[in-house]
Symmetry: C2
């Protein structure tokens, strides 16, 4: 049996698309590599989603999931999609467990952290080098950590870590921080966060776990010795599973209706938008579902 | 003094853009013809906005407005924008009261109801011919009304009117209703709604107020005598105020980043999207604000 729509990824965009597609009467299966909620469920405090002045990402994405289920969508956690292949009048979706068929597919596979690609990073990953503060942050109670990055995510996670660690250093390449005003204002009120501008990480070293971080600060070498480092620089779109037109960095190219270069395949959320926010992903998902329904003649 | 951003319209898209632009540190003025909230604040029950299983449009848009104000945006109600004119390195915005200047403008002016353009419609507008059930519906307690249209809006408003009026007839040109499944299911549970498919309104007549509606039903003339008629067919984008590229129906053409054909002018929400929903407008507004900030080098 072919599904009307298969959605790849149960993050914000996928759950929004699933709810709307189901409300339009389409049979709808969502395949999620990990757990429903995606990157947003790790955000401690969401303040820029219209409708909630302040809510944690976990609670918000539970609501998204409940609405998608209530509308009739089926969500399968821990089922990773390996390949999406357009075939004659349908689209085949291969997972590690099975091969499925749909009349339309919506790619909502989001992004993953981008490694800095410096010496020692891969070897010390999880041993002092981390990419998720809510996952690994609590092991650094009263210890010293560094955050690498200059964006809303980096600042929000530095603020989160400042409540746990004794000292947080934000390492960034630019002259000044770039983030939403409310985040920068909160940062000013916190005593244990230091800024290290014009700085680039050149290597991580340590025997069994991270001992030292080598930097280039304004062109001069310097070392610091935090207990842990959290990296929030660029992200990489999870777009390898499908052959559609993409930009140089791998983001899927779509038009205003979330249509990709291949008929019957739509994409939405972080995998199409470098600067995705929860609201833009929810909106993109809604649009993708409406476009898929139109494509299917509903 | 030039504002960083002037937003035309305080509907869902405009309020979302205002919140995000303000959070990015931009000075932001929102000009609204009527009251903040736009079309969405007249929706009795919103079920497809991710984050709220069910909420009335008024309450939801009050939250949107509060967040925009909290973020620092200024919102001026009852200030209609007459013209948006790009000038050297800035954009001029003329209202009935004053001329303002901004470094970037976001058009979020939404849509308005489209008249059927049949005989008697203009003359009897407000005298039995209506375009807003929450505004005029309560005058039809225990009376008979008709709804013209075949879309989510028409069905949702027919359901709303069914709680007030004794009898509701839905008049539509197609063979069957096209709307979200949950709306169609609710319709089945209601006893006092009748369907009149394959039907087109050809005229309204009456001396001082509506007395008779002339129809063409499957090509044959017929008349009905409801006490009031509510029209929910197509919408018209409020795009006359600005000279940018538009499609044949007047919807403003934007790319995926909500950039119009004129540098420094962005557009979002119903004025760019024929099938806008609250979530898509909130997302579009967010994207427009991020694009405007990038344009302004923030």
């Amino acid at each position: 049996m072919a599904w009307d729509v298969i959605i790849v990824g149960a993050g914000v965009a996928g759950l929004s698309a699933a709810m709307q597609a189901s409300r339009l009467g389409l049979s709808c299966l969502v395949l999620e590599k990990l757990v429903a909620g995606g990157g947003a469920c790790l955000t401690k405090q969401v303040e820029n989603y219209p409708g909630y002045e302040s809510i944690d990402g976990w609670t918000l994405t539970r609501k998204f999931e409940a609405q998608a289920l209530e509308a009739g969508a089926e969500i399968r956690d821990s089922e990773e999609v390996l390949k999406v292949l357009p075939a004659e009048g349908e689209v085949r979706v291969a997972t590690a467990k099975e091969e499925l068929t749909a009349r339309a597919v919506i790619i909502a596979s989001g992004t993953r952290e981008k490694m800095l690609n410096v010496r020692g990073e891969k070897r010390l990953r999880g041993m002092g080098v981390h990419y998720c503060a809510p996952c690994a942050g609590y092991s650094y109670k009263n210890k010293r950590v560094a955050v690498v990055g200059n964006n809303d995510h980096a600042i929000a996670n530095a603020l989160f870590l400042a409540e746990i660690a004794s000292e947080v250093t934000i390492i960034f390449e630019e002259e000044r921080l770039r983030a939403e005003k409310p985040l920068l204002e909160k940062l000013k009120e916190v005593q244990n966060v230091a800024l290290l501008p014009n700085a680039r990480v050149t290597a991580f070293s340590g025997e069994e776990r991270l001992e030292e971080v080598s930097l280039s600060v304004a062109g001069e070498p310097r070392t610091i010795k935090p207990d842990g480092v959290f990296i929030y620089t660029d992200r990489v779109p999870n777009s390898e599973i499908v052959d559609v037109e993409k930009d140089a960095e791998g983001y899927i190219l779509v038009d205003c209706d979330m249509q990709t270069s291949v008929k019957g395949i739509f994409a939405c959320g972080g995998v199409v938008r470098r600067n995705a926010r929860i609201a833009s992903s929810a909106g993109d998902g809604m649009v993708a579902a409406l476009s898929a329904a139109e494509f299917l003649g509903v």
